[in-house]
């Protein structure tokens, strides 16, 4: 078990190396550069800027330099935000994206899990059909349709919540609902399927037969196995929440890391692009490892295999 996680952690290193290399050359081979703006910069200044950031070196030397700095944990300076380091920019923007992602995930679990369990326990009644029907609609309603609709209803018409911006905690409600409802729908479907499967198992019947209360059967016996599909789904869900937050940030004008990333890519701000990609990749690798951990804890079979 311990070995498994150590080997997984070690595997992350070549993965990150490949990502860094791929992204580095992808950004460099793209047309345009960080100092080709609409306003013409005098040629001497441009050359000076390029030599300041080491852009005049041969490409491969630049790559080696970047990797060397990366090993020391230095993501380099931003080309566009003068005087800012990439890590400072991430520190500034990531908490915004994080609070959005965490609250969306909470919404997904707080709505999805109970709805799915209810549907499984009251199978083929209205307690099943209604939540599952809504869940199906939720899955087919993309965030960029749902978001504008929520803005129109709750901000423009009812004037209950702010529509755009990032000033107080109320600004968090609509974006995280928009992002979270899709995952709530998916989690509900997975929970229902997982619970139905487990409730059929012999050990659940045994638990019932020995006289455990329905609540105890649900919490102590069925839930552990029934939630496995949901836990497995959390891995892809994290990746989805990250890219999903790009769209949400663009709909609601939220100054998160996603918006920084897209702007940086447009500006050819190489170091910011690379830094953000590596940051997200590391984050997702760690989260996936946590998911594996949870999975092994919930599923004795998976534990033995390792």
């Amino acid at each position: 078990m311990k070995n498994f996680f150590i080997s997984r952690l070690l595997q992350a290193i070549p993965t990150l190396f490949v990502i860094a290399t791929l992204t580095f050359f992808m950004t460099r081979f793209a047309p345009g550069g960080p100092f080709d703006s609409d306003k013409a910069i005098p040629e001497e200044i441009k050359i000076k800027l390029q030599s300041h950031f080491g852009l005049n070196l041969p490409l491969f030397d630049q790559y080696l330099l970047y990797m060397k700095n990366l090993l020391a944990g230095d993501l380099g300076p931003s080309f566009k935000y003068v005087g800012w380091d990439v890590s400072e920019l991430i520190q500034l923007a990531f908490p915004v994206s994080l609070s959005l992602g965490v609250s969306a995930l909470l919404i997904a679990l707080l709505i999805g899990l109970p709805a799915g369990m209810l549907a499984a326990l009251r199978k083929n009644t209205w307690w099943d059909y209604l939540p599952m029907g809504i869940a199906m609609v939720g899955i087919c309603l993309p965030s960029f349709v749902l978001g504008p609709i929520l803005i129109m209803v709750f901000a423009t018409k009812l004037k209950l919540l702010p529509a755009l911006g990032w000033y107080s905690w109320t600004d968090l409600i609509l974006p995280s609902l928009t992002l979270g409802l899709f995952y709530a729908a998916y989690v509900a479907r997975l929970t229902r399927a997982g619970m139905l499967e487990t409730l059929k198992q012999d050990y659940v019947r045994t638990a019932r037969a020995k006289g455990a209360s329905p609540g105890r059967v649900l919490v102590k016996h069925a839930m552990r196995g029934g939630l496995l599909p949901v836990v497995t789904y959390l891995g892809p869900a994290f990746a989805g929440l990250v890219s999903g937050s790009f769209i949400i940030e663009s709909i609601f004008f939220i100054p998160g890391l996603g918006k920084f990333f897209v702007t940086a890519a447009f500006n050819r701000d190489y170091t910011v692009v690379l830094g953000t990609v590596l940051f997200y990749a590391t984050l997702i690798i760690i989260l996936n490892l946590l998911v594996d951990f949870l999975q092994a804890w919930l599923d004795p079979k998976a534990r033995e295999q390792r």
Binding site: I19, T27, C140, E197, V242, S243, I247, V277, I284
Partner: protein, 296 residues
């Protein structure tokens, strides 16, 4: 497991029609899937035959007729440049569906080949190839698509190549698992004994037996791809004006929602309806072609 697979495969060569008919009967009894099939056919018809019933071109601007609501003249209303929304929604549908189909084909081509090779060769090659898939799985791949689209311009060809390159991972996993099972079947053994080349065994003997799961998963990939394309177009990275896809129309609609709600209503409705139908058809096909598999 391997035994039942080979039995099924043997049956399908002998009485292939009955297996397909069985599946068709199961699919027909699934009312949601059937309704979805009909609705999807209508959406496709609207996208491809729709322009015949409309006297406007999708990019025909008429600045005297900005933001007109739905009327007899403009069934779906007009947009900020006075373009007819019926024509644009129909055109956008063609683009969205085309991207969905083409990108799915790309992902099928990569995923099936990759999975078949991994499963067929087996051993260390298989372990390495699948480890790669595991690693790629855990990456925020959409970020790469966004990056590609920003860096290399909004090229239509690149759009579905990039999307297809992202969506092949699950396909590779499914194909590999199936190939592993098939590899041990007697008819593959006998093909090998007859001295057929690996390529022949792969494409003539294994591939046809993979078609069921491939079709099912492809049906479920199309909506995922359409969603990704729409998301890119929404970010302004997908198709470029005056071309339109449902995603870019929804983006325009969302911006003008306060004054012209029909601009988001119609493209949004068609888009969500297509996703809805495709998901239900995929689920239905899965139940019909492989009754054993669980729903998840």
């Amino acid at each position: 497991m391997a035994g039942s697979e080979s039995e099924g495969a043997a049956m399908s060569t002998k009485a292939g029609a009955s297996l397909t008919r069985d599946a068709w009967i199961r699919l027909r009894s699934n009312r949601m899937a059937l309704v979805s099939l009909i609705l999807l056919a209508l959406v496709v018809a609207f996208s491809f035959i729709g322009p015949l019933f409309c006297e406007y071109q999708y990019d025909e601007q008429n600045l005297d007729e900005q933001f007109l609501g739905p009327s007899k003249q403009h069934w779906f209303g007009t947009d900020s440049l006075g373009r007819d929304l019926f024509a644009r929604t129909s055109y956008g549908g063609r683009i969205s569906l085309a991207v969905g189909l083409l990108a799915t084909s790309v992902s099928l081509l990569i995923g099936v080949t990759y999975g078949m090779v991994a499963g067929y060769v087996g051993g260390k090659t298989d372990a390495f190839l699948m480890r790669m898939v595991d690693i790629l799985y855990s990456l925020p791949f959409t970020i790469f698509v966004i990056l590609l689209m920003v860096l290399f311009g909004r090229n239509f060809l690149l759009l579905f190549l990039a999307i297809g390159a992202v969506e092949w991972l699950t396909m590779a996993r499914i194909t590999r698992a199936q190939t592993l099972n098939l590899k041990r079947a007697e008819f593959i053994e006998s093909a090998r004994a007859l001295g057929f080349s690996h390529a022949r065994i792969l494409f003539h003997h294994i591939l046809p037996n993979l078609l069921g799961p491939i079709i099912v998963y492809a049906t479920l990939t199309v909506p995922a791809v359409m969603l990704l394309e729409a998301a890119l177009s929404f970010l302004g990275l997908g198709v470029q004006a005056p071309m339109a896809s449902w995603g870019s129309l929804i983006k325009e609609g969302a911006e003008k929602m306060d004054i012209a709600p029909w601009l988001i209503l119609f493209p949004g409705l068609f888009f969500c309806l297509s996703l809805f139908c495709l998901n239900f058809i995929g689920d239905g096909l899965r139940d019909a072609l492989d009754p054993k598999s669980s729903k998840d």
